[in-house]
Subunit: 355 residues, 3 copies
């Protein structure tokens, strides 16, 4: 594929794609800039990697029009486009060979209950279990040894990887992806304390609803509601090892990074970004477009859309960063104040003595 | 079911259940107060939800005798009882249709080793594996594709959901519940550093013991002991994604919230409450009824029963909250002190100049 | 086995092993010092456990030559050796009965794709799935219901426990151990934001490479690279519930404790130690032999080999510990300073009044 071919392909999606240099060069592979060799096309999106522009052997580089393209030792052709990362993604999609990990159709070793309804175009892996009254939609893949329990509905074009468990009554939309080891619909953590110190289990009678275009990572836990629904709205992306408790709502297009935990009945708005290992206590309301820093502890609702918080307990980022800076220079500042106090004390003592 | 029926049912368990209003109303469903419609019974236990008392369309509301029951636009019948939440739990138990996710008996696609002993009333799911010398007790459910390794004993009336792994030699009591994806009895993390910088694995020769009435969430890890036992005592409740290392003891009726990690050989007392994402270092002793706040880092033993700790490193909650408050107002306080120092300095300078 | 036998056995590995007392005593069992009874051999490695030296009923104790061995009520024979813990590990290896959890050979209920190549000496558990073009090496164990997807290569003498998922194209060396529930090769968390607020999935076209002698705990997630490799180098040890994102490198002999998360493209050096629940942001470089404290948040590269960091955000341990101490005594220190300021103010006021 020549750079001219690549330019033409990208112009289907992107308004401007401009080549500076030899457009006949042949591209064999996509690569990261630190790994790229002759014949590779790469990209620059993160300033941390600009240093490689001097030394990369890549044949071509997708680059923002804002960046310089003259580097003494770099003989690459530059392709200028406003969002090099998205351009690279389009090329990855075009050039990646399709991954094949499951054969089409139902494997003879899949177990499909008599009352389940599996679309003829769906693929069910070896050892997968599809329970009674389940519905599996058109073109969906259910991985090997994945368990889909009674009465679950899975839409069209879903990819459920191996060893996933989807509990009874869950409802998944179309184009949902779930990675291995995740548990969807397990019981919420609800126990009523009894006078003798023991706990009585609170029946978890609700379900989990996962809307279209949601992607869920590996070893994620999404608990079923006590009553009603735990709901992951359209287009949300949930990373590995995230905990989503009963009756939580995750708004559309919200992104939750790995190992974050969201406690019961908390409602997270749309288009939020939650960093890794953050924790949210229960019964909160988080507005739309809120950004929560990694490892933050959110203990109050955030009502202002677009608010950025960080820290423990989390507070607006400006306040938090100023506070972190104050703590960092505290030793110096306290010592300086103490010196001025001592100076005052000794001056005063001298004045008294002089009286 | 009428409210009179409900009152009579609850009076079997609770000392006082009093109806204020029409006791003949028919209840069709249980619901959360924010979702309840005509025909629903709901409850108020958390003050955050009292605002819904003005507007709910519920037909009946379980409520504490301490709360007012006169709301202009609320036409519900009120049922006064000291612990509305527990009352609601009793009703959930009575009114929830039983969840069916596994058929009775052993599925033909279950694999049961020749020397395993499975009680005739137990149910073994499709693709489940019951290893040599295992014992599965009366009325227990072993989920689809769950693996029970050699020599494990599971008591009566246990519910092991699909895709769980229970390693060899584990011992489970009666009425134990384990959710999907959990690993019980995996190797403790023990390696002896060698002179060449590599690590030599320390054989993990102990087991895991889980006593009666324990519930374990999804994707939990409970490591086997190096020597002896890792033990979860009667009635303890472990939420999703919790890490319990080798030789840990969790006391009876202790509750551990999601994503908490407890390091090797730490002993947690009875009736403790550990918040989410907390971490405890190894070889600690935690007394009974200790409360550890979410995201705390506990690096020392806590010997006083009932102590409440929080923060990083964790300290008694009063100290910790005072410290958090001091840090929050530090900028203001330091600036105020500095102003007073400057005022003193300038006064002193004036006095000197005036001498 | 007598203590003389034990001495002779240990002298094969250790330069000096000296018996103080009766070398004919018979040892039946290895035990922790707090549990040991007559007939048991135990060890002392952690000073926290020295208190048990007074009271243990053990018949023999492995102990450092630096420790006293005269305790009035202790009648054990002492075995002095420079590293009692490593000595104990050698004995554990010798005396532990081998764990049997899988039968030799391929279980009839294993599913092995036609084009997979399984060494005749490998053991494949019931319900395990070995995909097309997979290679399973000599003497490796693949647990029950474990899924090995298309084109994965697993070396010799590996132990993959039940219910693991290894995605397509993964490459494992020899003597690799992976515990239950782990997902190796799941998609990296990469999505390009689109103008309408939705996210476009970035194809994750790379693989995971796990070198020889790596041990991976239960419910770990190791994501495949976007391009190229995510690599776990020789001898690294990864504890339960760890998140390793796309394109991460973990250096040889590095140890990562439970629930830690390492974000995308971060490179961790060799022989590092990372405590539990720590978090590292993406695109960092961590030098060799760096030690990162539990629950730390690392937001910058650490270029100095052997650096020890701790805290949030993480900083060199001396700075961090001093800062923690300052914050802890802040209330007292501020009050003391304020008192001195007030004293100055009142003195000054008196002086003025006296003028």
């Amino acid at each position: 594929m020549t750079l001219l071919d690549i330019q033409n392909y990208l112009l289907q999606f992107l308004p401007s794609v401009e080549i500076t240099g030899d457009e006949t060069r042949i591209i064999n592979r996509l690569a990261k800039i630190e790994d790229a060799v002759e014949g590779d096309l790469t990209f620059i999106a993160n300033p941390k990697y600009e240093k490689f522009l001097e030394t990369t052997a890549a044949s071509a580089i997708l680059i923002s029009p804002k960046l310089a393209t003259a580097y003494p030792s770099n003989r690459a052709t530059f392709i200028k486009t406003a969002d090099p990362y998205t351009a690279f993604v389009f090329l990855l999609e075009k050039l990646s060979p399709p991954r094949t990990w499951i054969n089409a159709g139902s494997h003879p070793a899949a177990i499909i209950a008599r009352t389940a309804s599996v679309h003829p175009s769906a693929s069910i892996g070896a050892g997968a279990y599809i329970g009674e009254q389940c519905v599996i939609g058109e073109g969906s893949f259910i991985g090997h040894n994945t368990v889909v329990m009674t009465g679950t509905r899975i839409g069209a074009a879903c990819t459920i990887y191996p060893n996933v468990t989807i509990y009874d009554g869950s409802q998944l939309g179309d184009r949902v992806t779930i990675h291995s080891g995740s548990a969807v619909g397990s019981d919420g953590f609800g126990f009523a304390p009894q006078p003798d110190g023991s706990y009585r289990k609170i029946p978890q009678t609700g379900i989990v609803v996962i809307e279209d275009d949601v992607e869920i990572g590996a070893n994620v836990c999404i608990d079923r509601a006590t009553l009603g629904e735990t709901r992951i709205e359209k287009g949300a992306k949930i990373d590995n090892l995230v905990q989503i408790a009963h009756n939580v709502r995750i708004g559309a297009n919200t992104v939750v990074a790995a190992q974050t935990g969201i406690s019961g009945s908390t409602s997270v708005g749309q288009s939020c970004m939650i960093g890794g290992q953050a924790g949210l206590v229960g019964h909160l309301t988080i507005a739309d477009r809120v950004v929560i820093g990694a490892q933050s502890g959110v203990s109050r609702s955030i009502m202002a859309a677009g608010e950025i918080v960080r820290g423990w307990p989390a507070q607006p980022i400006k306040t938090q960063l100023r506070q972190e800076a104050i703590v960092r220079r505290l030793e110096t500042d306290l010592a300086a104040m103490m010196n001025r106090i001592k100076a005052l004390e000794s001056e005063l003592a001298q004045m008294k003595a002089a009286e």
